[in-house]
């Protein structure tokens, strides 16, 4: 696919990186030539220096032949104008804009084809905030992902010594909870994937991915681990875009404390937030953490834009007694280094947010993409179309489908009903199929399966 990315900031460059890896032709436009140089040194793409909202620059970037425009600059206005230009001057098929301001998002009619022509708007900060919010709702989970408009959830949990499942085969799940349909889609043992079968025995330290209807998730987690008391106290480090949104989302339900270094920002935050206690201070100041009782904190989120600060303050909090610590870490090298160590969850913003974009780039009817285990695996929600003739999946039993190894059909959502992906199930047209792909190399193959053949027309 021919894709133009406007803006080479954090979002732009991580998107570029993922998309280049999937064999797309990428052109990145930004005002800052230094940033572009850095990108070009690393990745196989074209760059162009200039203002993203000027027609001449878009023309030079090759918008006339582009299949997709991704406007992800810092400015909502520039992104919207770029989409409008692409639509009115060049008729670009897909236009995606990053819109951060809630004011714009409150009026979806301004994005229609008559107005700003934004086909999809994304807000990475909001995606990340929702993601962290779910981790706080389920304090035992390492990852919580939603499919089919929130009907199905996939939860990653680490099996701990003394937990209900350790030492038991997976079939134990069905005997233990006969009323609840749940499926283990994958198990990672010492960073290597194991195909789960009924007789697979769970070992302490295993990372397990459960799939179940969303309303059952809480019951399942309760059964599997001695359910810790639900989270109540949340401490957030950094009052930037993410910290602010998270505090806003959480403050009604949780006791939230937010620490921010900049006093002016603190005052602005304190004016906006109602129940959050806003503290002015350094997030690596152990005295401050102690005097604010970091030991009683259920979830500690380090969300400043400085990786090192986030790591250090998370470590301080963990050693101070915080129950669960989440650190936002941009550098992927750090993420690999820290995950599963003292820091419970090392979040890479790029991996969390990329899925939303990928869903639009992929072939076939992809409803959702979630990046798993730092981009090595992926969970996909694909919509099956056609009939037995035109499609390779519709009208077949799951065990009849020519799925590559390392790909598992975890669940099917049909007309709002959740069906677990057992062997004998049939797939029908318009089913949402939730797949678990353990190896990125085979994603293309899986997508091809779900594309309808020529015979359909």
């Amino acid at each position: 696919m021919n894709i133009i990315i406007l803006g080479a900031g954090q979002v732009g460059s991580t998107v570029a990186e993922s998309l280049v890896g999937e064999a797309n032709d990428i052109t990145v436009v930004d005002l800052d030539s230094a940033k572009l140089k850095l990108l070009q040194d690393r990745l196989d793409l074209r760059t162009l220096v200039g203002s993203a909202s000027h027609p001449s620059i878009l023309e030079q970037a090759g918008i006339a032949d582009a299949d997709m425009l991704l406007a992800v600059t810092q400015s909502d206005e520039v992104n919207m104008v770029a989409c409008k230009l692409a639509a009115s001057l060049y008729n670009t098929p897909t236009k995606i804009a990053r819109i951060r301001s809630a004011d714009f998002l409150a009026h979806p009619e301004i994005f229609t084809a008559e107005n700003f022509c934004v086909d999809f708007s994304i807000c990475p900060e909001q995606i990340l905030t929702d993601y962290i919010g779910k981790l706080i709702d389920f304090p035992e989970a390492l990852q919580v992902l939603e499919f089919a408009g929130g009907r199905v959830s996939m939860v990653a949990v680490r099996a701990f010594e003394g937990g209900a499942l350790v030492g038991q085969p997976l079939s134990f799940l069905n005997t233990h909870m006969p009323n609840i349909e749940v499926r283990v889609a994958a198990i990672f043992r010492q960073d290597r994937s194991i195909m789960p079968h009924g007789d697979t025995v769970v070992v302490a330290g295993d990372e397990m991915f459960f799939v179940a209807a969303t309303e059952n998730i809480r019951t399942i987690l309760k059964e599997l681990r001695r359910m810790d008391r639900p989270a109540k106290r949340v401490m957030i480090m950094g009052g930037g875009n993410i910290g602010r949104r998270l505090a806003l989302a959480l403050e009604q339900q949780y006791q939230v404390k937010l620490v921010e270094y900049n006093k002016k920002t603190c005052e602005r935050l304190a004016a906006e937030l109602t129940h959050t206690l806003v503290l002015n201070g350094d997030c690596t100041d152990e005295k401050l953490l102690q005097s604010e009782h970091v030991g009683d904190v259920d979830v500690f989120c380090a969300l400043t834009n400085d990786d090192e600060n986030n790591i250090m303050s998370s470590l301080l909090a963990k050693s101070g007694g915080a129950r669960k610590v989440i650190a936002l870490i941009n550098r992927s090298a750090y993420v690999d280094l820290l995950q599963g160590g003292k820091i419970d969850i090392a979040l890479s913003p790029a991996h969390v947010t990329i899925g939303t974009l990928l869903a639009h780039v992929r072939r076939g009817d992809v409803a959702a993409v979630h990046s798993l285990r730092r981009g090595t695996a992926e969970a996909l929600e694909l919509v099956a179309h056609g009939d037995r003739q035109s499609s390779k999946v519709v009208g077949r039993r799951i065990d009849e489908i020519d799925l590559p190894q390392d790909a598992i059909i975890a669940a099917i959502v049909r007309n709002g009903e959740v069906i677990m992906g057992h062997h004998e199930r049939m797939i029908e047209s318009e089913d949402h199929v939730i797949l678990f792909v353990l190896n990125k190399q085979i994603i293309r193959k899986v997508e091809k399966l779900f594309q309808i053949g020529i015979g359909f027309f």
Binding site: A271, T274, L277, L288, S291
Partner: protein
């Protein structure tokens, strides 16, 4: 000196405008043939000529008013107009001293409602109407009225407006032009008054009583045309109508205006101050009713509720009507009512006291102090609803509260020195400064202020003025700094 002359120039103009308010009692006098036509004509002529004289004599000094002039003008006007308003009273009732007459008109204009007159039922209709009209004009404010009908004050108008309007935050204007704001406020005020008048008539008052009581209810004044106040009617329907309109008048009129402009009730939900006032009032009514029932003051809960609600709303909103002698209740109840009168009115309403918004600011400030002690690093701005109150307003509220309490303390001591008992002294001062009207003891709802000595009457008059002008506006002209250039 020329500065004072500029102020006198404008003051003259205001007297000219004020003289037209005699028209209403003149008409009343013609309708009822109560023989006051002549006295009112003289009073009107005297006010008009004095105003014209002041205006003409200082014409050379016509100029733009500065902030200081504004304060001076407001104070001079609020002392001069009650003086001129005494004319009809003095002419008709020769035995009435100037002290008492001035107290009566001041009580009217500051919407207090304490009276020194006895035999109100037999007072000439036009005089009674005059008293109530003063309360109605004083409720929204003389300056606001002048600004509304004459845009001639120019930029100074906004300053004057601020000096007269109660409440700590006066910069929020409803319309781009101050004249427009003032006019709208008066129109809303007039509109609701007409509604109140009709409701009172339907509830069973005579037209004359309905007009008078509509004036005093909307101004949260408290004058009545009967010595027995509202007990004269002994009608739960009339009491209910009055309660409803007192509750309307205790809310900021800007909120009423916004609700009318937006044509929905959302502004009332946004007005956190008004909401708190109303909730606090209704909660206290229920509590007092239960208390009176429990104390067996009334042996029926519904009777207790009826009397508690009317008298509490009346006193707490700083009106001062009475439907029974609540001074006979266990002392807790009337004292709580007086306490509520100190705090419950909204800024921008026609009520008195320190205003709900200041109470809320102080309450939140105490909470902030606790937060600061527990979390030294915390940044906790003062917030009311979603709005942040800047620190300088918090400080000015603190200073205001100090002045407020000092005023009450000093005046109470002065009253005690003059020989009154404590309850009478204290309640008279609280009732005056909060513009309630009746106090307790000798000045309770069953009697009135006629028993006080001249000195005590003057203290109360001063208390009412200082309370109506929210202390700072009045006291500022007594500071040396004010007169220094």
């Amino acid at each position: 000196m020329s500065r004072s002359l500029t102020v006198i120039h404008v003051l003259g103009l205001m007297l000219i405008i004020f003289s037209f308010s005699y028209i209403l009692p003149l008409i009343t006098s013609i309708i009822y043939q109560d023989g006051e036509l002549e006295n009112f004509s003289w009073a009107m002529l005297a006010t008009f000529l004095s105003g014209t004289l002041m205006w003409a004599a200082t014409r050379r000094f016509k100029g733009e008013l500065s902030i200081r002039d504004g304060y001076l003008l407001v104070v001079m006007m609020w002392t001069a107009i009650p003086a001129f308003a005494t004319l009809p009273l003095m002419l008709t009732l020769p035995e009435l001293s100037f002290t008492d007459a001035y107290f009566e008109t001041m009580s009217g204009l500051t919407t207090s409602g304490g009276t020194v007159l006895i035999g109100l039922d037999n007072l000439q209709q036009s005089l009674n109407l005059w008293r109530h009209l003063l309360e109605w004009i004083g409720g929204m404010g003389i300056i606001v009225l002048v600004v509304a009908i004459m845009p001639l004050l120019g930029i100074g108008g906004r300053q004057l407006f601020k000096a007269e309007t109660p409440g700590p935050m006066k910069d929020a204007t409803l319309t781009p032009r101050i004249t427009e704001t003032a006019r709208n406020l008066w129109l809303v005020y007039l509109g609701i008054t007409v509604l109140c008048l009709i409701a009172l008539k339907i509830a069973g008052m005579t037209w004359f009583d309905a007009v008078c009581h509509a004036f005093s209810v909307m101004g949260l004044g408290g004058f009545s045309t009967h010595d027995a106040s509202i007990a004269y009617f002994n009608s739960p329907v009339i009491e209910l109508v009055m309660i409803v309109f007192m509750l309307i008048a205790v809310v900021n009129f800007a909120t009423h205006f916004l609700a009318l402009r937006e044509k929905n009730f959302r502004p009332y939900f946004r007005d956190i101050e008004g909401r708190t006032s109303i909730l606090m009032l209704l909660g206290s009514c229920a509590a007092i009713a239960l208390f009176l029932w429990w104390q067996e003051t009334y042996n029926n809960f519904w009777t207790a509720l009826r009397f508690a609600t009317f008298n509490l709303v009346s006193v707490a909103t700083s009106s001062g009507f009475a439907s029974t002698d609540y001074a006979q209740w266990p002392i807790f109840a009337p004292l709580l009512m007086l306490f509520l009168a100190c705090i419950v009115s909204s800024s921008g309403s026609t009520g008195g006291g320190i205003k709900m918004i200041r109470t809320m600011v102080l309450f939140k400030q105490s909470g902030r102090e606790f937060t600061k002690i527990l979390h030294p690093a915390a940044i906790a701005p003062m917030k009311l609803g979603n709005a942040v109150i800047p620190n300088n307003i918090v400080f000015s509220v603190l200073a205001y509260i100090f002045l407020y309490f000092m005023t009450i303390v000093v005046l109470t001591f002065a009253m005690l020195i003059s020989g009154l008992d404590f309850l009478t002294a204290f309640s008279a001062v609280v009732a005056s400064v909060n513009n309630v009207g009746p106090g307790l003891g000798q000045v309770g709802p069953a009697s009135n202020y006629s028993g006080l000595t001249d000195f005590q009457t003057w203290l109360c008059t001063f208390g009412m003025l200082v309370g109506r002008l929210e202390i700072v506006t009045l006291l500022i002209i007594f500071t040396p700094k004010f007169w220094r250039r």
